[in-house]
Symmetry: C2
Subunit: 212 residues, 2 copies
DNA sequence: GAATAATACGAACGATCGTGCTAACTTGTC
DNA sequence: GACAAGTTAGCACGATCGTTCGTATTATTC
């Protein structure tokens, strides 16, 4: 699953079980907070209040806000991988995996896995404001996701499941456009109609790419 | 141009010319700041520093941060109207106006009118964090834009320019998906390739809707 | 030219931000 | 059971946040 390998955390010499539990609880709260309030809303004080810890106690787990943000992102990556990407690998054909990827993403919005929609859509918004390492990581992940879609499309084409004159990158671009639109429209106007429109659009687009 | 009427400002008894000029200069800086840093980055201190005014002097123009945010939004609405929407009304046929609307939006990203891409995309991100009046106004505007696209599609269909079995709302959804994707991809990876993909996708989608 | 109201500034407020420091406690290891 | 290391809290710091107040400086009107 190239591109979504979790980055190694800078400090990895933690042994005590209570510390691991605390850290996990903090990050669990953090990812939810980010999707609702954005990366900027992820303040130490707010997070301490939310988890019932003191600011300094919480702070000791990360050492800086930047590290906290990075750790939060990696936590979200893990959830996204297991909730969205991994399940789609059960399918055998590339085209089925591409379709499953779209549906898996829509389901991830619909369930919802995070209260504020797609984690990365929420986080990337403030990329301009955030430290360079955080911004770079977010850009990497955005690229990885798009690349994954493109690769699936290309594999489908190589397997003869897509028309030969179809541009896999163009197809991936349009599919991701629907996913992104679904996320933002579903958040803005709470009606599930947005997800249905995305599903219909994706289905029609894929049909066009196969029967051209 | 229904839906994009500027809201009346709460205070309108300003008479002095220097005050009007200051206010305009502040708001001009504010709209640019929002597209780069988001609505949350629109802090009084930052804005004062950027415009060379004192915090309190600047503050006197608006009375509260909420009013500042609302005034900034209305300023952006005016720019969006004159830069994106109004020019498209020169075309006579509804379908041409719909096409022009898409191209006008892409050009607005490409020029760029704002340094951080579409103002409303930047502002809506933090809708969850902001005061109710600001959130409501942003939701209104989002609805107005989508409704405008839908109306154009419907008019085109009524004029016989679109296939009878095409769903105008679905078409508008998919077109806006491309526009949104173009904005975010163009910002993330600075390559103009994203705009080209959006243009190609829109053209293909419209062709499909006309020759079905 | 005087009166009036708009405009701008400086100082200060309470709150919150990220970040350090110190000290107390728990946990795991020898 | 001792000891080292991990964990947490308390306290305080400088900075910035939105906001208020008093005051001086303008621009417009009579």
């Amino acid at each position: 699953m190239e591109g979504f390998e979790p980055k190694l955390s800078v400090l990895d010499k933690r042994t005590r079980s209570d510390g691991q539990r605390s850290r996990a609880a903090i990050l669990d709260t953090a990812v939810r907070l980010v999707t609702v309030e954005g990366l900027r809303g992820l303040s130490i004080g707010r997070l301490a209040e939310e988890t019932g810890m003191s600011k300094s106690g919480l702070y000791a787990h990360f050492g800086s806000k930047e590290e906290l943000q990075l750790a939060t992102i990696e936590t979200a990556v893990g959830i996204f991988r297991s909730e969205v990407i991994d399940p789609t690998n059960a399918h055998s054909s590339p085209l089925a995996r591409l379709e499953a990827l779209c549906e898996s993403f829509l389901s991830y919005i619909e369930r919802p896995v995070f209260p504020g929609g797609c984690f990365f859509a929420s986080a990337q918004r403030e990329a301009a404001v955030v430290d360079a390492r955080v911004r770079d990581r977010l850009t990497d992940l955005h690229g990885s996701w798009l690349t994954l879609m493109e690769r699936r499309a290309q594999q489908a084409q190589e397997a003869g499941e897509l028309a030969a004159d179809e541009d896999p990158q163009q197809l991936a671009f349009e599919l991701e456009a629907m996913l992104k639109m679904a996320n933002s429209a579903y958040l803005m106007q709470r009606k599930p109609e947005a997800l249905e429109r995305a599903r219909r659009g994706i289905e029609r687009r894929l049909k066009l790419a196969t029967t051209k």
